[in-house]
């Protein structure tokens, strides 16, 4: 995009290049962000600069659940109010947050920080499955709940983990598939309806 006849000042070019490394940010967005910060929010820019430095410097992975934490073991893993017999496997801390917001789970978590994606070179080794196995086979965990996304890659990851963990004698479950709460059947996609039919429950179970 840059034209040799109109060299942008180097610090501006460097900032635009650095912003482009953010996921989902192309050259136009990066440019708009750079102009905005320089023209209207220099304090926001310095704030972001500091936040980046601190986050990279201070955060590490929890030794037990692999999520981000400032300490060796995160607060969730240390909480005495959690059921250590249940371990829920999610792809990202955002997924963990959503499950917490449902108030339906009181066990512990393991955060993969990704999903199996062979085409992108992300295999069991890159995701540190040995670490997960060590965690799940601590003798206290009895049930592992697979809560990876219901995308192709998330499902592949769940299948792979299910086999791996079942072979270790653990009870393995998966989040239920079905019609989303509050939705009208007319607007639910066919694949979801097919799943909901296959996994239908007897009414008296409720």
């Amino acid at each position: 995009m840059s034209d040799p006849s109109l060299p942008e000042p180097q610090p501006l070019q460097a900032l635009i290049d650095a912003l482009r490394r953010l996921p989902g940010v192309g050259v136009r967005s990066a440019r708009r962000m750079a102009y905005h910060l320089l023209q209207h929010d220099a304090s926001g820019a310095l704030h972001l600069s500091e936040a980046l430095r601190h986050a990279v410097g201070d955060l590490k992975h929890c030794r037990r659940c692999n999520s981000f934490t400032e300490d060796e073991v995160c607060g969730t893993c240390l909480s005495p109010r959690r059921d250590p017999a249940q371990l829920c496997i999610v792809e990202t801390p955002a997924d963990q947050n959503m499950l917490e917001a449902s108030h339906g789970y009181h066990g512990l978590y393991y955060v993969l920080m990704g999903r199996l994606a062979p085409l992108d070179g992300v295999g069991p080794q890159e995701l540190g499955f040995q670490n997960l196995l060590d965690r799940a086979c601590d003798g206290v965990v009895q049930e592992v709940i697979l809560a990876t996304n219901f995308t192709a890659e998330g499902e592949t990851t769940a299948h792979y983990l299910a086999e791996l963990l079942r072979s270790r004698g653990l009870r393995v479950s998966r989040l239920a598939r079905g019609v989303p709460a509050g939705s009208e059947l007319e607007y639910v996609d066919a694949g979801t309806l097919a799943w909901a039919l296959m996994e239908r429950r007897d009414s008296h179970q409720d």
Copy 2:
């Protein structure tokens, strides 16, 4: 979004909050960016941190054209190969880049770094119109080309500037409105066609 039962570590929360100050970035994007940087691109994060600090520290506005530069006066304004009798007014440095890429202009620029937007509290004073007037009335500039966007706010800005500059005895022109190069009439919107009809040219002028 944050749940008191699952406090995210402070440096992560601070990073997400700082990323949300970028234009067009909501809480989900900010979260995704933060996870990505921390998990996969710590060097990119530090790189961005440095770039932000340098850009805010080293860049200022060119005393002549108001664009970003490391020096008092930018390279474009100092270039002896530019025609100082023409001054093109644009909203942002990105617009200036696009005009340069057209290779159709060889005069100088003035970058407003914004547009008149009364509803957002951006008036002639906020945009520094006095500075622009001083620049345009240097005795060398003979024609001012208004190249603000063809949006409502860009048009308002152009109208306002046209009156202001004409009253100073300057020749003022506006980029031509019409059918975009390479387009089929069937797919051109009605407003553009109406403009193209109104501003039609005699064929022998070509």
